[in-house]
């Protein structure tokens, strides 16, 4: 069967810029601003031929969304486009500090290529930490998020403590919006550390891959039960959250990330149930990046095809929607980010899913030795391809002026790639680091990448569900959830 566009005589004066694809029995249109619209084939033909009646609802909505070339509000489009892309400008706001590469866990997919607990040379020292904070505050961004990563950051607690205190102190004069977060397995958490972190308003994030057996298989702790250690703190922190919420006190919500290995694929429901059990508001189902250990010899054992991952993901999403239909609000964070881009004029500021990507212009990563990288993925590549400078030698200006920054921007602007014709372009993004690591090319043949396949299917799923009244309502609730204290 030939497509409906066979008989279309394009009205070049009426049809505003749009990308389109046939999704099941309707045409999905999107434009640069991120508006979308579904049209039945006959209406799609009328639209393309400029035959929609001006007084019809369809015409009015297409007009409001900027799809009618000679009848739309250009100022409004500029305004919406601006607010949807605000995170692309203003300088890097996310600053990831790798205070150590040492870790007591032996996660099978470790992307950070952890070091053993004996290798203390992989700890950041206080002198470097001070230079890191000074460099961070040189960023012109009015919002600064410092995120501790590792290794396991609590292994180098003195430096975490120093950075938190020094950054808070420095911000008294800098007066930026300063957010600090710590990603930890919690196994080395103590009451004293927890008290300090709470008092200094450090938000916490952990890794929870699922029920005990799965968690301990993906994230083994030699000579210990990592699941028990992590969840005992999850339990405590969640109880504290509830107490504060009851008293009307503002607080950060503990968040967690789920990394999906081959061993996780059989347990979509169990993983989600685990998150619900501990009182999380949502889950982020993240596929393996295939950087670090997950890209090495272990790949065959723990990896999967995009098709296998998507089968898991769809089942998990169906279950999450079922939970929402039963009356409990619970979201998938990746989908929530996509929906924020699809349904609102807010920029979720998610650096992996935007054009250009957030490497260097949205985030910087400071390694334990003071070397600065374009992004978290950039430091995970074994060579120094994505290194921009060194806080112990270079100024912020020199670091950010490295020609690699421009290269990363060019390599991730979707308008330069075949993505420019994809209906999901306004909501999507590429990762030049992954492309380089997996295909040896910063400018990959996007359509052949696993990332493209996975994203396309996720967007197909989301747009299919958006057409369903009940799911559409749920999705709207996800993007209007009240924010945490941050």
């Amino acid at each position: 069967m030939l497509s409906d566009s066979n008989k279309i005589k394009l009205n070049r004066e009426k049809v505003g810029f749009c990308r389109f694809k046939k999704l099941d029995d309707k045409y999905l249109l999107t434009n640069d601003v991120g508006y979308y619209y579904f049209l039945e084939p006959d209406k799609f033909k009328d639209f393309m031929e400029g035959k929609l009646k001006r007084e019809s609802d369809i015409y009015q909505e297409l007009k409001d969304k900027g799809f009618i070339r000679d009848d739309f509000d250009i100022d409004e489009m500029i305004k919406t486009c601006s607010s949807c892309n605000i995170s692309s400008i203003g300088g890097p706001s996310l600053h990831i500090i790798v205070v150590t590469l040492r870790c007591n866990f032996k996660c099978i997919y470790c992307q950070a290529s952890r070091r053993s607990m004996e290798e203390k040379q992989y700890d950041m020292d206080v002198k470097t930490a001070k230079r890191v904070v000074d460099t961070i505050f040189e960023s012109p961004s009015k919002v600064i998020t410092i995120e501790f990563q590792g290794g396991e950051p609590l292994v180098n607690w003195p430096v975490v403590k120093f950075i938190v205190e020094y950054a808070r102190e420095k911000n008294r004069t800098e007066k930026k919006k300063l957010l600090i977060s710590l990603v930890s397995n919690f196994s080395l958490m103590t009451e004293e550390k927890y008290k300090f972190l709470t008092e200094k308003e450090v938000s916490l994030c952990t890794s929870l891959d699922g029920p005990e057996e799965l968690q301990n298989r993906n994230r083994p702790l030699p000579n210990g039960n990592g699941y028990r250690l992590t969840t005992s703190w999850i339990n405590k922190i969640k109880k504290d959250e509830q107490d504060k919420t009851k008293k009307g006190h503002a607080c950060y919500y503990l968040s967690a990330l789920a990394t999906i290995s081959r061993f996780s694929l059989k347990y979509p429901k169990e993983i989600i149930d685990e998150y619900v059990k501990w009182g999380f508001r949502g889950i982020h189902l993240r596929p393996l990046s295939f950087l670090g250990f997950s890209g090495g010899p272990a790949k065959e054992k723990i990896g999967y095809s995009p098709e296998e991952f998507m089968e898991f993901w769809r089942e998990a999403m169906d279950y999450i929607i079922e939970i929402n239909v039963r009356g409990k609000l619970f979201y998938e964070r990746g989908v929530r980010i996509m929906l924020t881009k699809i349904l609102t004029d807010r920029d979720p500021g998610f650096l992996d899913l935007r054009s250009p990507c957030g490497a260097a212009i949205g985030q910087l990563v400071y390694n334990h030795d003071g070397k600065v990288y374009t992004c978290d993925e950039g430091r995970m590549v074994k060579d120094d391809t994505f290194m921009l400078g060194d806080v112990n030698k270079d100024t912020y200006k020199k670091i950010i002026s490295n020609p690699k920054v421009k290269t990363m921007v060019t390599a991730s602007i979707l308008d330069n790639l075949s993505c420019d014709y994809c209906v999901y372009k306004p909501y999507c993004g590429v990762c030049p680091v992954l492309a380089y690591a997996l295909y040896g090319n910063l400018f990959p043949q996007v359509i052949n990448t696993d990332r493209c396949k996975v994203h396309k299917e996720m967007f197909d799923y989301v747009f299919r569900k958006l057409q369903n009244e009940r799911t559409g309502k749920t999705f709207n609730q996800w993007v209007t959830l009240p924010k945490t204290k941050a």
Binding site: S418, G440, N441, Q445, I447, N448
Partner: protein
Amino acid sequence: MTIVFNKQFYHLQAIKKATEAYKELAVFNIKEKDNNIEIDIDGVDKDVKDVIKDEFCNYVLAETKKFT
């Protein structure tokens, strides 16, 4: 084996990029002849001998598209 690319559809730079990407798998010799670019492929890695010609053509096409 030889592949003849028509210059009207394929870009020399794209072919050079493809040979660079495939250099671990075979030895490529590029010759320009009138309207064509001829590629001789020798010393093909035995694991890829059945698919290298077709895969190489796909790679060249994808690279060529970047020039359009």
